[in-house]
């Protein structure tokens, strides 16, 4: 590693001066008609004011949305380019096993009732008595509206020496804190354990917490918590550290590094997502079928009897992973699910009263994501599929493509056959509106989040 980046940069700039000044900008400039002095003066005056405003605005950036973090482009020796992560799908069990070595190790106790008995691991034990568990949850026909049938979720929990455990946290690249329950609440300034899940291939994690000033106060005074940077090794797919003085709302920027020091992710700011870094195993490519329509899927039409629709889809995709699973929410009474290797992502066909009532392709909400599996990639007639950007949707559908902040970010296309809609996977945190580089998380018909009820 270079001892001092900025000294090295100065040396590079010095060396580049002869190359830069050989360009004779002055001659080119004078060859053109010089601008009138008054115009130039006013333009520069405006630019100076704007620049100063920008400086101040950037200094006040604690209170604003952290902008999308650009990925490193100027390649460091040995570093690889970071392609967009494969998002918009729920993981298969095999993907979890492939990408989280802790699950491939020996088992442990299971303090979390919802975890799979043979897929719970004690990942870390800390001197203060904290234990960090990693465990897999499986959802098959459960009455959980935001989790699809055949979803496998990797969760982690923290338990203290008294057996008090954290609530289930879902999986997140953002660290969560564990504090004592109200009766044992930690005093101000006391340490709290923070932890997050990290896939294989990440050796060190850095969290950078920014100071959060209170509104209308001196921005140098951190009201909520102080700026700090914590770097820790990853052990058993868990990055964890005891940190003093952070509130629950602290959300750091995160850097994952491989054992050779290169930055491997996350190159995104996905909110609540254990999005796959580039090295996560799993196929993304597959034949694309443009069959997702407002009126149904391929030859299967909404309103058709469920059995006929399923037969049609079986001819198109192969047999479903789960047939006629009983559900009782959102006006749906049954659902049939195709999963990898039939389809790259989950295709959930909703049934009501023996009829094909709706469908959803992709993750159920904006907060589940991992690599796709092998299988057919389903798309709309125009070619929109999950993991596409909002910008692509706009290009494909023009003004017919609209977005909303509702339900954590949604998109919608209204065509002659009816609406197509879905969730948007936000790429920045905190989420303040849908942005052009956000991703399509799922595609369905009817009202987002409750597809069958609107039809």
């Amino acid at each position: 590693m270079t001892a001092n980046y900025f000294d090295a940069l100065e040396a590079e700039l010095r060396a580049a001066v002869p190359r830069a000044t050989r360009r004779r900008f002055r001659l080119r400039w004078t060859a053109r008609r010089p601008p009138r002095a008054g115009v130039l003066l006013s333009v520069v005056g405006v630019a100076v004011t704007v620049a100063v405003v920008i400086v101040f605005a950037s200094l006040a950036g604690h209170q604003r949305t952290p902008p999308h973090r650009p990925a490193l482009r100027h390649p460091l020796p040995g570093a690889r380019a970071v392609p967009p992560p494969p998002l918009g799908s729920v993981p298969t069990l095999q993907q979890l096993l492939d990408n989280f070595g802790v699950l491939r190790g020996a088992g442990g106790g299971n303090p979390f009732s919802s975890g799979q008995k043979n897929l719970t691991r004690i990942a870390r034990v800390f001197p203060g008595g904290y234990r960090v568990y990693v465990y897999v949850r499986r959802f098959v026909g459960a009455r959980v509206t935001n989790l699809a049938t055949e979803s496998y979720a990797l969760n982690f929990g923290i338990e203290d020496s008294h057996g008090n455990s954290s609530a289930e946290t879902g999986f997140s690249v953002y660290p969560i804190s564990w504090r004592a329950p109200p009766g044992l609440r930690a005093r101000p300034g006391e340490k709290a354990l923070w932890a997050s899940l990290v896939p294989d291939g990440v050796a060190r994690v850095t969290w950078t917490f920014s100071c959060r000033p209170a509104p209308h106060t001196n921005p140098r005074i951190c009201a909520g918590f102080h700026a700090q940077t914590v770097t820790m090794p990853v052990v058993n797919n868990v990055a964890a550290s005891e940190i003093v003085g952070l509130g629950r709302g602290a959300m750091p920027t995160i850097t994952w590094r491989a054992s050779n020091g290169t930055v491997v992710g996350p190159s995104f700011g996905g909110y609540g997502n254990l999005a796959a870094p580039p090295f996560v195993k799993g196929e993304r490519e597959g034949r694309q079928l443009r069959v997702l329509r407002p009126t149904g899927i391929g030859g299967a039409q909404l309103g058709q009897s469920s059995s006929n629709a399923i037969q049609t889809l079986e001819r198109l995709l192969g047999p479903p992973a789960h047939l006629n699973v009983r559900r009782g929410d959102c006006g749906i009474d049954h659902e049939t699910v195709w999963a990898s290797p039939a389809t790259a992502n989950l295709l959930t066909m909703f049934q009501h009263g023996g009829r094909f009532a709706g469908y959803r392709y992709g993750a159920p909400g904006p907060d589940l994501a991992l690599g796709q599996g092998p299988g057919a990639v389903l798309a709309t007639s125009a070619g929109l599929t999950i993991n596409d950007t909002v910008a692509r949707g706009m290009r494909l559908y023009g003004s017919g493509f609209t977005t909303s902040r509702a339900n954590g970010g949604t998109w919608r296309v209204r065509g002659s056959g009816g609406p197509l809609a879905g969730n948007v996977l936000p790429m920045t945190y905190p989420v303040r509106g849908v942005k052009r580089n956000d991703r399509i998380a799922n595609i369905g018909v009817g009202q987002v989040g409750c597809p069958a009820s609107a039809r």
Binding site: A3, Y5, V17, V50
Partner: protein
Amino acid sequence: MDDEALLSATAGGDADAFAAFYRRHLGLVVGFCLRGAGDREAAADLTAEVFAAALSACGRYRAQYDTAAPWLIGIAHNKLRESQRRSVVDDGVRRRLRMRPLELGEDDLERVEALASAAESAVLAAVDELPTAEREAVRARIIDERGYRELAVELRCSESVVRQRVSRGLARVRARMSAESEKGGRP
């Protein structure tokens, strides 16, 4: 030596002049890039590209003020916006100038923060020295991002008065920063 002289000398091939210019404004650019990008690695990468772009364009610099800081921040703003649009930090200028890629170590990342912090302190100190009315207006409008109408109600004056206070306050800060910049030296 002021910025115009340094850049003019750079355009004539004086590498020491550009090094002095670089050291004078490094903190400002790093601070701007760090706040904009929210990421230390990206801030360091952006800083390198900004100074490379400044070096490329030094022959076109025409001084309107005592300092080239606004010009430099303008370049940084463009680079930042471009990187956000493309989701990558462009390295086109550095490639054109055949500059070698640099590695970042942990110490460098800490230095990014230290440089940014120093620059931020300088600007905030300049704000603190404003007359009370202007300081309140600048803080409320620029730092707290409140609207002119809301401020006019709170300060019991017209919107135009608030605008005037903000404008005058910024002008004073600008002048102060120019003077600081004139002193030069490594941040």
